[in-house]
């Protein structure tokens, strides 16, 4: 495979495959994330009704659902390695950067699967409409990229601490807030506008955020992983 000439990417790909295989045997993260999203969606829809909320509020609620669902499952990827004492085994065969990229890919994949299911449902249940579908999808994809990059790093940090579940949201929220805010704003724009230029600065920011956070995470991950 030409694309995997780089050892690092090859490692990341192998770890990603391993995690997918592990996930589909237990379906722990997938169930947690998906059920959480479904429950919040139902709760939101039930409490505010289908037609009462404005598009602005609906845009915000969508991102809040995505964020908290992510918080319910994205940390599992590292917590599992620590709790089952496989972290050292993995350390013996892989470079930290490869491990981070593999785990990041897995979380990204998990978020995409979640969005694939929950976003159409949200549109149907909440009677939500966007004019700029392409703009919306770009915002969603870039937003997921930023979310999983930031969350993967905080997941690695909290996997080494006690009280993991509570800490994950506490640590991630301030770091991921730029993504959520830009995501909400981008979605609001997509409701009314078709042209990419309208959401240009949101998309640029989301992209820049992802690049910067992934770079910082790769530089810092070595310290977390090898303490």
């Amino acid at each position: 495979m030409e694309i995997f000439r780089l050892k690092l990417l090859h490692d990341a790909w192998l770890i990603f495959q391993k995690d997918i295989r592990q996930e589909f045997k237990t379906r722990y993260s997938l169930n947690a994330i998906f059920l959480f999203a479904l429950v919040t969606l139902v709760a939101v829809s039930f409490s505010i009704g289908t037609f009462t909320a404005s598009a602005d509020i609906k845009s915000a609620l969508l991102w809040i659902i995505i964020f908290f669902s992510a918080m319910s499952g994205l940390s599992h990827i590292f917590v599992r390695e620590e709790e089952k004492h496989t972290a050292d085994t993995l350390k013996l065969v892989a470079q930290p950067t490869g491990i981070f990229l593999g785990k990041f890919l897995f979380n990204l994949f998990l978020l995409f699967v979640l969005e694939l299911i929950i976003v159409p449902l949200y549109f149907a249940v909440m009677n939500f409409e966007v004019s700029g579908v392409a703009v919306f999808i770009s915002v969603l994809l870039l937003g997921s990229l930023g979310l999983s990059a930031g969350a993967t790093m905080t997941a690695a940090i909290i996997s080494k601490a006690s009280a993991k579940g509570a800490l994950f949201a506490v640590l991630s929220f301030p770091i991921l807030l730029p993504v959520i805010v830009a995501g909400i704003n981008g979605t609001k724009i997509a409701v009314k506008q078709v042209a990419f230029a309208e959401a240009g600065s949101e998309l640029q920011m989301l992209f820049a955020y992802s690049v910067v956070v992934i770079t910082a995470a790769i530089l810092l991950f070595d310290f977390v992983w090898n303490e």
């Binding site: 930031g150 790093m153 905080t154 940090i157 909290i158 080494k160 601490a161 006690s162 009280a163 800490l167 506490v170 640590l171 929220f173 301030p174 770091i175 807030l177 730029p178 805010v181 830009a182 704003n185 600065s201 949101e202 920011m205 820049a208 955020y209 910067v212 956070v213 910082a216 995470a217 810092l220 310290f223 977390v224 303490e227």
Partner: protein, 243 residues
Amino acid sequence: MLDVESKLVGYNKKSENVEIQETLMNKIWQFGLLIWLFLVSLAAFLWAPLAEGLGEYTRILYFHVPVAWVTVLAFLIGAVYSISYLKTRRIIYDQIAESAGQLGLLYCVLATVTGSIWAKVSWGSFWNWDPRETSIFILLLIYAAYFALRSAIEEEERKAVLSSVYSIFAFVSVPFFVFIVPRIYSSLHPDPLINTQTKINMDGKMLTTFLSSLFGFTVLFFWIFKRKIDLVKIKLDLRKMEN
């Protein structure tokens, strides 16, 4: 201000066995600072004129803005010491970063409270999600998360590494926040009054009071910070002696 900082850094490098001496110089400094801040307070209430449109509320400017500035400064210093810790693995840098964080948290709470009071009297409600209110709130969240993380880890070295990484990571993500939020909520802050980018609309007396206050609060921060660093060193020395 920078001078004080570089002195501090040099001081750290010199040795870990620091004997705290109440030198005359030290006392003069402390006394001077006291007088300075006293004069600033007097000037803020009696000497500086009121800004148009803000009325008596102008006065909080001389306390709120310096406190907010020190919050950001402490955050920056914390991140710098976190980087030093990861580079050198000397536990003292982590402890200093923690001290900066503690002071930052204190100033952050003060900035939030003073800002909130100002917001209530001039805009009508305690909280408006104005971009700067939001930014200071994010700093508050980061500080809270930083200390929550520290309290969740027992082992000293692990605590130091993970919290250093978190503070650097948070430091990297904050600028995006500052960029994106103003696009959503327009600012209620009296920008033209303070903003240096356009032009300073402060009158000479106001500006003098404001800058003096800014200077005074910054020195106050570094003085407390230095005290905390001394304390950290004593603690580390004591622990060494015990072993």
